[in-house]
């Protein structure tokens, strides 16, 4: 393991981006263009109904510009174009043409001088509905033979596919022979698990501002995790050359995966602006946003075979996901679920069957984790179930079977396989157990108090990006332009987004480290758009630091080469004889001939000389594809206190162990882990978007009042959240770094469930574990005991 002293990497440098504390940071919803119109959207009151006629003439009469199904291009697309086209299912248009497929689906949009005016115009729109169907809200209903088809056909790449039984896509994988594996096993256990739909509740509702430009092009500010993909999609939908579309990179008020795809309101805003020939601003209301996206749920039937010594022999995993009214790429989701399932433990023989099913609910998409919080709930609960059955310590069973260094793992699904080169799993389990005082853990049957304590452990991982030795189904590369300015400061131009996790700071540190230029002198925050940058796929898949950072490091090294070559002409020496280092006193990077540090020149001087003597800018532009997606591991040790009289759960303490290789930004790395824990806590105990069974509306009615996320009071105290990093170094990562983002949430749910089991001896197979469910189960348990005792 190579370790070096870094000037910037791993240093707890202050965040430079002070706009966020002074209120000056601009988000899409803060952009105001003089003369702009404000847009509002009419959303479907029905969950599944045929659109006969949309008449907005009365709205036009009161001065609104309107678009309806008849006005939007015929192009059928998928808003998430991270996968290669041949593996991308396409089912939607900007506004639905023939029918609506979930309540709250955008149907018509109006723009006017004020939001109020637009809203008033909206009320004048008349819609004639045709046939209406009872909404299909569950997997079972949607799959049943008499279910009305939500789609008759969709496209996969260029191929037109008939949709059968509302199945959006399927993915089946088999490795080895599971039947044989189960025969070898001493114990075979099968359980069914459910994870629920969760709403992202990112604070900035989906927003867009679109300015039609004089050349027929458009400039767009919108909530997006990947501006280049938005541009490609808009070019395709509106038949505009990409050179006429400019998407601005602008700070997002949270996202958690909900803007990997182009948000549904973005093309609506563009269509309005193109029609109105005026700038249009569209800011979703919170209710709009609730009806726009949700986290993929998952039903899992997991069957595992194990020998008495704790060796696994086979695992059969069947999963179903009800995806809602549109398919925002459930196909790679099913692949990733397979990958997470297959790569956490050595099952030996694997069978995986995944099915995605359309329902008349809000379309689902990624949300911090792309299937791993969901499948890990099943896998990690199962490990505890097996450990109990085997009378083994759950940590030992994990240590015995985990996929680790030197093993092959499936990164983003079965098509991206590579070898693990850095792995802190053992350290995390053992060190974490120490910090959590695992040895004091007692079995549930020894607990009799009203408030029962329990502790649970769970593991998870996410890949750092989606790269593999060979390009697979997922597009993954990043790019940057880096230039040394005329005073020796440095500009980094990259389309990579920072979702709040500190990606830009991390990238700046990487560049600082390569060029030895002080962190403060790196410009990275603003002034970026698609036109000024080369492609970057997206800030998703926990790829920011590993892939984006890898790319800026690659480009920075090229700039360094140019710099040294040029400096060599000044020093009348060879570049390899020059030393580049950071002089902290000067606050400058300096270059000097080896062994003669006193003859230094600052790179400011060199750059200025290059400038005034017309040598040109020291700059480089390129893209880089990472050929790996190393797993960043996470392990949660969660303590719970379950009140057996009320069913309430409190989390007094948690130990979180993370493995991200070298940590570039310690502060924000920890921040991401703790933040993920709060969302995991919501996922495990609190949150669910459930639907009215009759009309397919959200039971929370799109109100934050009735969609509760954790507050300050639900979180453990400062000193009771212990976050530690494993001591690893990823040889393929920039300065040894891997990712963290999505990994951080992937084991919170099962750790809570395992802890609750340890507290009260009740296994929950369904999230969230609410007080209602706990109390009911406790009463049933009591009842059963009484029956067993013959009372």
């Amino acid at each position: 393991m190579e370790k070096e002293q870094y000037d910037f990497i791993g240093q707890p440098l202050e965040i430079k981006n002070i706009g966020k504390v002074t209120g000056k940071e601009l988000y899409s919803s803060d952009i105001n263009i003089p003369g702009q119109l404000y847009a509002v959207i009419l959303r479907s009151p029905h969950a599944h109904a045929e659109i006969k006629k949309v008449d907005y003439s009365e709205a036009v009469k009161v001065g609104a510009v309107c678009i309806g199904p008849q006005d939007v291009p015929e192009i059928i697309y998928n808003e998430r174009i991270v996968s290669i086209p041949e593996k991308t299912y396409r089912d939607r248009t900007v506004l639905p043409k023939e029918k609506v497929r979930h309540k709250g689906e955008a149907l018509v949009a109006c723009a006017a001088e004020t939001e109020e005016k637009a809203w008033a115009a909206l009320q004048k729109i008349k819609i004639e509905w045709g046939k209406q169907w009872k909404p299909l809200l569950t997997l079972e209903k949607a799959l049943s033979d008499d279910a009305p088809p939500i789609y008759d056909w969709v496209y996969l790449g260029e191929e037109k596919l008939k949709v059968k039984n509302n199945i959006a896509c399927e993915r089946n994988i088999e490795v080895g022979d599971v039947e044989e594996g189960f025969r070898e096993a001493d114990i075979v256990i099968e359980k069914t698990f459910h994870t629920q739909r969760v709403y992202h509740m990112q604070f900035e509702t989906k927003s867009a501002v679109c300015v039609p430009e004089a050349d027929g092009g458009i400039t767009v500010w919108t909530t997006s995790q990947g501006i280049h993909n938005v541009r490609i999609l808009l070019g395709n939908i509106f038949n505009l050359p990409l050179s006429k579309i400019n998407i601005k990179r602008i700070t997002l008020g949270g996202s958690f995966g909900s803007s990997i795809q182009m948000n549904s309101i973005t093309p609506i805003c563009v269509a309005l602006a193109l029609k109105a020939k005026k700038p249009v601003k569209l800011v979703s209301s919170r209710e709009d946003d609730f009806y726009d996206h949700a986290k993929y749920p998952l039903k899992t039937i997991l069957k595992v075979g194990v020998k008495k010594d704790g060796t696994f022999t086979a695992a059969h995993c069947r999963v179903w996901v009800e995806i809602g009214g549109h398919n925002i790429q459930a196909y790679p989701y099913l692949g990733c679920v397979a990958g997470w399932f297959a790569s956490l433990y050595k099952w030996k023989n694997i069978k995986y069957e995944g099915t995605a099913v359309y329902t008349n609910k809000v379309p689902t998409c990624a949300m911090q984790g792309y299937g791993n919080p969901q499948i890990n709930f099943a896998v990690e609960s199962m490990i505890d179930i097996l450990a109990e059955e085997l009378k083994m310590d759950p940590i030992n069973l994990r240590l015995k079977n985990y996929v680790g260094k030197g093993d092959e793992f499936w990164g983003q699904g079965p098509t991206v396989r590579s070898i693990i080169r850095s792995c802190g799993v053992e350290e995390m389990l053992l060190e974490g157990a120490k910090l959590a005082q695992w040895e004091k853990r007692v079995p549930h049957y020894q607990k009799k108090e009203v408030i029962r304590k329990g502790m649970g452990v769970a593991r998870g991982f996410h890949t750092s990006g989606t790269g593999g030795p060979n390009p697979g189904e997922v597009i993954d590369y990043s790019g940057a332009t880096i230039k040394i300015n005329e005073d020796g400061s440095v500009d980094v131009l990259t389309a990579l987004m920072d979702l709040g996790g500190g990606t830009w700071d991390a990238l700046a540190k990487i560049v600082a480290e390569v060029l030895k230029v002080p962190f403060e002198k790196i410009g990275i925050y603003n002034g970026i758009d698609t036109r000024s940058t080369v492609f970057d796929v997206n800030t998703h898949a926990t790829r920011g630091v590993y892939c984006g950072g890898g790319a800026v490091k690659f480009v920075a090294e090229k700039v360094k080469e140019i710099l040294l070559n040029y400096a060599a002409t000044l020093f009348k020496d060879l570049p390899e004889n020059l030393v580049l280092s950071c002089n902290k006193e000067l606050g400058q990077a300096i270059i000097y001939p080896r062994e003669i540090p006193e003859n230094y020149k600052t790179i400011g001087e060199i750059a200025e000389y290059a400038h005034t003597t017309s040598w040109g800018t020291l700059a480089y532009t390129s893209t880089l594809r990472q050929k790996n997606c190393p797993p960043c591991f996470i392990t949660h040790f969660v303590e719970v206190e379950v009140n057996t009289r009320t069913g309430e759960v409190k989390i007094p303490r948690v130990v979180i162990m993370g493995d991200s290789g070298t940590i570039i930004n310690p502060n924000l790395w920890e921040g991401q882990i703790i933040g993920a824990f709060s969302r995991g806590l919501g996922f495990g105990l609190l949150e669910e978007t459930d639907y009215h069974p009759e009309d397919g509306s959200l039971r929370c009615k799109g109100l934050v009042t009735d969609y509760k996320i954790p507050t300050t009071l639900e979180m453990p105290k400062i000193e009771d959240i212990i976050v530690r990093s494993a001591h690893t170094y990823e040889p393929t990562g920039p300065f040894g770094a891997k990712g963290i983002g999505e990994a951080a949430l992937s084991s919170v749910g099962p750790a809570i469930a395992n802890a609750i089991y340890n507290a009260i001896g009740i296994r929950f197979y369904e999230l969230p574990i609410t007080p209602e469910k706990i109390l009911k189960s406790l009463q049933e348990k009591e009842e059963n005991l009484r029956k067993r005792r013959g009372e």
Binding site: G35, Q36, G63, K277
Partner: protein, 158 residues
């Protein structure tokens, strides 16, 4: 300061807004988002801010906003609604009559108002008519060419 509510039709669309007694039409238009009306001198000297008011080219910097009350105003943005407007725009582009583009809106509007009145002028007449619009980039020749080309086309069509 007392405010006055005024109403006008700008590029065919109704606008109701408030103004003050001494506000020029130029300021009023820009304040309401019509940034295509450029401000050059605010003294009526350069013609950059020309708009068409009730069919006539006027300099919006020396017109009170209140004087446009209940009237029809066209700016360069509205020109694409007219065949002549579009022809002029295309001709300006084709003839390289645009460099920095700041005087262009005024030039096209003056040309439009003039050609409406006199569809087939000669070069000299055109030259005289745009005399109130200054241009620092082009040296006017290509602007006159561009307008003349439209006049020629008009001639052919008649």
């Amino acid at each position: 300061m007392e405010e006055y509510k005024i109403e006008m039709k700008i590029n065919g669309e109704r606008l109701v807004a408030t103004t003050q007694a001494d506000e020029s039409l130029l300021k009023f238009l820009r304040r309401n988002g019509f940034f295509e009306v450029k401000c050059g001198c605010e003294k009526g000297e350069c013609g950059t801010c020309t708009v068409i008011l009730q069919g006539k080219a006027v300099k919006s910097c020396i017109t009170l906003a209140l004087q446009a009350n209940n009237k029809e105003v066209w700016t360069i943005r509205g020109m694409e609604k007219f065949e002549l407007g579009r022809k002029l725009q295309e001709s300006f582009v084709q003839y390289g009559a645009i460099q920095c583009g700041f005087c262009t809106p005024g030039m096209i509007l003056v040309a439009k108002a003039y050609l409406d009145k006199n569809p087939i002028p000669d070069r000299k007449e055109i030259k005289r008519e745009i005399a109130g619009n200054l241009c620092r980039c082009t040296g006017y020749k290509k602007i006159i060419d561009a307008i003349y080309a439209v006049a020629e086309e008009n001639k052919k069509m008649n």
